[in-house]
Subunit: 222 residues, 2 copies
């Protein structure tokens, strides 16, 4: 359909990343490099042809570049460039809005990946509350592993295990969602056995205080 033909920063941005699926591809990459198949697993409904086209476009436009992961995986992967990485504030702003005005309850047939909630944590990160805090949390949710590095007012959330985690949080998707949404307290879930937490107790106890969750609201009058 082409561009909007407007000399406007917003319109030009949407010319680049406004097409269907594009911003979700970038969301995936915000927690680290992904292979072709990873996208297919996270983005149900996105066909291989369109995925290949989107990746090629993002590569041409300098938002994504191909990388070869170390270790066992010999298959190519995709990662964000500096320009792509800097879309994070925009994506997180959309996520914050969604948490407040659009998320609500999980609907029938909706896919869920723990990585999305981890990105949600980043969106809710409270820099002031994290002042002076330096800790690495590893999350293991239904087999998916993520970690968050909190370092004096900044947070980074990445796919994969941490090298030296100060605390490891292990649970299932359901419980992780309920804790992330603030519906239940982490400490209670640990006590009930729904969450296994190992590592420094003070670090674990501080975890929930690092985030300020938005209060969900209804968009529809009354």
């Amino acid at each position: 359909m082409g561009t909007y033909h407007q000399y406007c920063a917003t319109a030009r941005t949407l010319d680049l990343i406004g097409e269907r699926w594009t911003l979700l591809i970038i969301r995936e990459l915000l927690t680290g490099p992904r292979r072709f198949g990873d996208f297919q697993q996270s983005l149900r409904g996105l066909g291989t042809g369109l995925l290949a086209a989107r990746l090629k476009h993002l590569e041409q436009e300098g938002l994504v570049h191909k990388v070869t992961l170390p270790a066992p995986a010999r298959t190519p992967a995709y990662a964000l460039t500096e320009a792509g990485e800097e879309l994070a504030p925009a994506v997180l702003a959309l996520a914050r809005w969604g948490m407040k005005w659009a998320l609500g309850e999980r609907r029938d047939g909706e896919l869920f990946h723990p990585g999305w909630a981890v990105l949600g944590l980043r969106a809710c990160f409270n820099a002031e509350a994290a002042e002076g805090v330096r800790a690495t949390y590893e999350f293991r949710v239904d087999g998916e592993v993520f970690h968050a590095r909190v370092s004096d007012g900044a947070i980074d959330t990445v796919h994969g295990p941490a090298q030296y985690p100060d605390a490891v949080i292990e649970t299932d998707s359901d419980t992780f969602l309920k804790v992330s949404a603030g519906k239940v307290q982490l400490a209670d879930q640990i006590h009930e056995g729904a969450v296994t937490a190992t590592g420094d107790p003070a670090t674990i106890a501080r975890l929930q205080s690092l985030f300020r969750l938005p209060t969900p609201r209804s968009r529809i009058p009354q």
Copy 2:
């Protein structure tokens, strides 16, 4: 095309406002209510049918509501609801990214409206630099009138004239763009007669210091 069927704040947001033109409709409304015809003038390429459909969708979803403007205009208009208004941080984040990574020079055939640059100012507003500042600026650019109310670290940019402007800046699109982009100094343009500024001299002199423009970068390697 339907939703993404993902339980994720970003995906849910895109379900609502991710379709073509939708975010640009919201961008227009971020500087005040608009009538049907206003959109048609700003959003070239968007047909009446699609525009009507988008507006109806946004209304149903509680992001936009119909209003009847006072005074002479008896025709209906559209305005953002609270939920719609709160999309501003996301739109401004996209705009900031675009200013740095996507805007560059104006291309052939690209439309431009002064209101977009005014919104750009809001995106570049430097709250720290504006601490303690309280002033209303009115901009008249090629017949379009906007005003910005700066009030102690916050800014609001609205379509239409200001009631009690402390300063009035009048110029043409070209000059306004060059000043907004930081390519030329406001004071110089006033001196050269390309800009007419009336009102409190100190307020006028402070104007450019209230914004921190991003340095444009190239996305494509070297």
